[in-house]
């Protein structure tokens, strides 16, 4: 059994969930989904039944979101107290910045967690331009879905990823940046705010 750990605090519809679904489609074995916001004894029991897990999460301020830190700390404690069996962990970090490389530190944090929790770190992928999952046609997402496929193959073969892998959307950076800036103006409109009002200094 492979656990797919949804590491976003968003209930549904976020980029991490979309990535989780893309990965799930590519995995050949049975999977179980694990939530990181609402946890309980059943969370740790579900994880204890798995031989592999993939955690998919958004980058928050260059690192792991705080709720995921708490989740990892509880998971580490459970593994120590219950002397859980061997487990392999992979990770997908995604961010709205263009450069997938900006996820490197967060993936290194997952590696640090694995060492403390006695989990075998199998490597991870860092996806940049993940804002594209909401709006871009499939063709432009190909570089991202490509590394998700590589990750799925590694999980299916029970292999370690050769190294951290990074990817971004199939758009030049200047264009992604301009599109991103426009998306904030559209976002503000939904709340009845104009572009200049986003610059307020409260």
């Amino acid at each position: 059994m492979t656990a797919l750990i949804h590491g976003s605090p968003k209930a549904a519809g976020g980029n991490s969930e979309k990535i989780l679904q893309l990965l799930e489609k590519r995995l050949t074995g049975p999977c179980v989904r694990v939530d990181t916001v609402r946890t309980g004894p059943e969370t740790w029991e579900a994880l204890a039944d798995c031989e592999a897990a993939v955690v998919i999460f958004p980058l928050y301020v260059d690192s792991l979101p705080s709720h995921l830190l708490r989740f990892f700390m509880e998971w580490e404690m459970d593994r120590r107290e219950q002397q859980r069996r061997a487990l392999s962990l992979y990770a997908v970090a995604q961010c709205g910045f263009y450069e997938g490389e900006q996820n490197r530190i967060a993936l290194e944090q997952v590696s640090c967690f694995c060492r403390k929790a006695g989990i075998s770190w199998q490597g991870g992928v860092g996806l940049g331009g993940a804002g594209g999952f909401a709006e871009m046609p499939e063709a432009l997402l190909k570089p991202l879905t490509g590394v998700i496929s590589s990750l799925a193959e590694a999980v299916n073969r029970k292999e370690e990823l050769p190294s951290l892998q990074f990817a971004s959307v199939g758009l030049p950076r200047w264009l992604y940046l301009a599109a991103g800036n426009q998306s904030w103006i559209r976002g503000a409109k939904r709340f009845g705010l104009k572009k200049r009002e986003l610059y307020q200094k409260p």
Binding site: S8, P9, D62, S66, F97, C112, N181, Y199
Partner: protein
């Protein structure tokens, strides 16, 4: 004016750092803090402030007016402790949603014209060399993302060992 974000018991912080506690804007764990839910309300709905009214998501203005921003945190998996990270996550309204290129990477534009010096202090008994290296890189990355004027990092086994106030560093 300094802003200090820390994860110590408030009374322990006051006894270790009396001068800071007296003269600075202190953010410590005085009550429950809610998670950032990634709604981007702090950028698009109430620009500059988090929409969750628990008192932990609205100190962007203080950061915009401070000369130094000090973060004192236990090192957890090469990063900050959950409380400190929670407050950082809840205060991205300090910067603007709009992007620009800095040092060859995409980052957020600053909201406030003045830039603080970021000083990060990490402590912990069992912090591995790997975690120390990740922590240093994280502080540098935060400095770049928050558009800090400069970044310094110090690590020690305990807040007492760091004791940066007694050493006359402030």
């Amino acid at each position: 004016m300094k802003v200090v974000l820390h994860d110590l018991e408030p009374s322990r912080f006051e006894s270790l750092y009396p001068k800071l506690a007296r003269d600075s804007f202190i953010v410590g764990e005085e009550g429950p803090v809610r998670n950032c839910v990634g709604c981007f309300g702090c950028w698009c709905k109430t620009p500059g402030k988090c929409v969750i009214p628990d008192g932990y998501g609205d100190f962007g203005k203080r950061l915009g007016a401070c000369g130094e921003y000090l973060i004192l945190s236990r090192v957890v998996y090469g990063g900050f402790s959950p409380f400190v990270k929670n407050v950082l996550d809840r205060n991205i309204g300090y910067i603007l949603p709009f992007f620009e290129l800095r040092k060859g990477e995409m980052h957020h534009k600053p909201r406030y014209p003045d830039r603080f010096r970021l000083r990060v202090f990490g402590y912990g008994e069992e912090v591995s060399p790997e975690e120390q290296a990740v922590f240093r890189r994280l502080a540098e990355a935060n400095g770049l993302n928050l558009n800090a004027q400069s970044v310094t990092v110090r690590l020690g086994r305990s807040p007492e060992e760091l004791a940066f106030e007694r050493e006359g560093e402030l």
